[in-house]
Every structure is written in C-alpha cells, then in structure tokens.
Symmetry: C2
Subunit: 227 residues, 2 copies
C-alpha cells in the first residue's frame, strides 16, 4: 500500500535562513499535508530578503539551479516561491517533476472560476498567474508596509494583508490567491477567509497537493499492493 513508501521531495527555499526551524517550515507543512512525502529543505545563499522583485528573482535563478543539484535522487523538487523562479529552467534540465508554488496556486485558484485577487510582496503579476488567468487577475499592489517576507511577520503585517483582501473582494475577486509563500509561513489564509468570505489559496498547500499529484501520477499507485 502506497502510504508505506515515502517519496523524497527536495524543497528549495528562496530566502537564506540560518534558523533550521524557518528553513524546514514549508517542508514540515508539506509532510503534514501529503503523508507519503518526505522532504529535505535547502535554501539559496546570500539572499536574506528572498525574492521580492525582478532583480532579486534574476539573481536567485542560478542559485536555485545549483541548489537543485544538491538533493540526492529526489522524486520531485518544489521551488517554494510563488514567482516560480528557476522552475522553467529546472524543467528543461531535470527529468523529475518540478513544482512551483506560483503555477500550483494559480491552478488551484482557477477551480473557483471568475477572477482571482492576488496578494503578494511584488507589484507585478507573476508569469505563472498570467499564464493561467490572463486578464482575469486582479492586482491592487502590495499590502501597505509589506515589501518582503520579513515584513509579513512584523506588527501590523497580518492586518495589512487582510485589509488588501477586502479591497480585492470589493474589486470583484471570486477568490484570493496568496502569491508569496511567506503568507503560508505566517499561516494567514484562514484568517483572510473568515474575514472576507472568499476561498483563499495558500501557496504551500497548493504546491503540496500538486507535488502529491505529480508523485502519484508517476508512481503507479493504481497497481501498487493492496493493504
């Protein structure tokens, strides 16, 4: 029975963490969500503020490609960033499923129909969301005072995110997509959903289920031994 086997998934964190608890936080969530996944988390170097604009994204991509090589025979790799940095490049050079938080969140949000309102730490709409939603993305810019994932953890960070969600609802969004995995770190999805009454897509949950889909798709659970 499938559950007895654990599949190895490498998690690339696109901010440099010294604290192993922070480094492993997304991986631990993913293991809880998908019990057949075992994670190893690695982070890129010299980028304590992570990926928060096109420049920091460009700088991160080669580091992400290097980091991906360090995992020992992973069954899949997740780039745990909603901007999907390095995801297209890794797909080109590696033979295993590569999952980005951005394309995963966009796909899950698409199920709710209509337009999705994005809340992230960038002013632009990520390519992953543009590909899935086209002009059906509502972007009202970053929440006040939020410029990087660290700001989300500061006083007033959560309130600012919830305020933005309310504005997106007024602007016609039928779902809210959190386009920064730092939103998963602070676990704010549920609060937003309660406050505004729209389905909220948490990017780490989205990447977890999409990784689950890829692993199950590639590992013949249909033909596995019965319990």
């Amino acid at each position: 029975m499938l559950i007895n086997k654990k599949y190895k998934v490498g998690i690339i964190r696109v901010a440099s963490f010294e604290d192993p608890k922070m480094l492993n936080l997304h991986g631990e969530l993913i293991e809880k969500y998908m019990p057949f996944i075992e994670t190893e988390s690695l982070c890129i170097e010299d980028q304590p503020e992570g990926v928060h604009d096109l420049v920091s994204k460009a700088v991160a991509v080669p580091k992400i490609l290097e980091t991906a090589k360090k995992f020992k025979s992973p069954d899949a790799i997740i780039v745990s960033c909603a901007d999907d940095p390095g995801v297209p490049e890794l797909m080109e050079i590696m033979d295993i499923p590569i999952i980005g938080a951005g394309s995963s969140a966009a796909a899950m949000a698409k199920r709710y129909g209509g337009s999705t309102g994005i809340i992230g730490i960038t002013d632009y709409v990520s390519e992953a969301f543009l590909k899935v939603f086209g002009d059906k993305v509502i972007n009202l810019g970053k929440p006040d005072g939020i410029n990087c994932t660290i700001d989300l953890m500061k006083k007033g960070g959560r309130e600012s995110v919830i305020k933005k969600a309310g504005e997106l609802k007024k602007a016609g969004a039928s779902s809210i997509s959190l386009t920064c995995t730092g939103m998963s770190t602070i676990g704010v999805a549920e609060e937003i959903e309660k406050a505004v009454g729209l389905p909220v897509v948490d990017p780490v949950l989205a990447e977890a289920v999409c990784a689950g889909f890829e692993i199950l798709r590639n590992n013949k659970v249909v033909n596995s031994e019965e319990k």
Copy 2:
C-alpha cells in the same frame, strides 16, 4: 497530527452499478491517493450507461442532488464524473466543498501550459474545460468505438484511446486530459503517457488531490497538534 483523523468524503457515481466492487472503485483509489480521506460511494439509479451526452447529463442532475442528501454529515462531496453534472447546483445548496472531476482535471492540466487534448466519451467539450482552457482545448472527438464507459472495458477500448492520444499530440497538445472517469476505472493514464510521452491527467487522481486541497484548506492542519 492530521493523519490520525479521517475526513468523510461522499463519492457520487453517475452510473448505476450493481457490483459493489465497481461502485467503490473510485472511492478506493481516492483513499489510496489521499490517506486522510475515508469515502462512501453511492450511485444514481436507472442509468447503467452513465452520463455520456447532454441528455443523459440532464437526466442525471436531479438524481445527483437527491443522492448527495443521503450522505451523513460528509466533509466534502465528489461528483466522480468529468462533465461535473450537478456540481454548480450542489455548490448552491450545500455548505461543504463540492468537487467535480472535470474542473479538477482541467485545473491540474492547466499547470502544464499550452493546449490540452481531451479524450472522453462525449463529442462536446465540457463546460469545466471551456472555463479553464477557453479555446486552448483540442477536441478530435471520441476514440473509435467508444460511446460510453462500458465500451472502454471492451476489447480494443484501450488501444482506441491510445490512438486518439497520439492524434492529439500531433495536433499540438502539450498534455492529455482524460475527460471520462471510466478512463480511471480502466487505469489507462500510464499506458498513454508511455505511448505518447505527454503528461496525462487522470480525472480520479485529479479529483482526489483537489478534494485533499479543499479538506486541508478547511481543516486548519496548520494549527493541528504536532506528531
């Protein structure tokens, strides 16, 4: 820890089965895929050939709404049919997540970008796929000799499906979406993938992970007790 709790998911089969093995087949796959889900399967009455065109779909919808009421306090309901019959109606009248195979498969296929080629048992493109893919669905009609799910299990059924997948690849598809859950019953996704080399979306796997997403989204795993 989440895995210790099982969430109850009602599975509605849109063909009338007398054989409990056939009735429970999708539910058993879903339980394997998502170990925190426990399923109960019920089928609609007097429709041995299931949903295979707009008329049989229209006839099925009121039966699906009746069937949904029979589950005892489910955490979610899956309508295990790629045409999503009754899904919008159930969303209106019920307060729990309602998951359709069609919208789930479309969302998972969207992650692969480009156009998806559909293989089902209807000549039309389902609304769920139109909503997600717009004009990016490649539909070359039903596989030869396939008019209902029963035909898939007959001699030559699998070969006919694989042949159609090859034609869809030639027509420019970057993924294959199986738009009939009977394709999951016969477990043909892996064979197609090997034969044509495109990612293939199995609708029962797709509905399983999307149900997993909805359950995890609504049940605060983030705040659950640690192992």
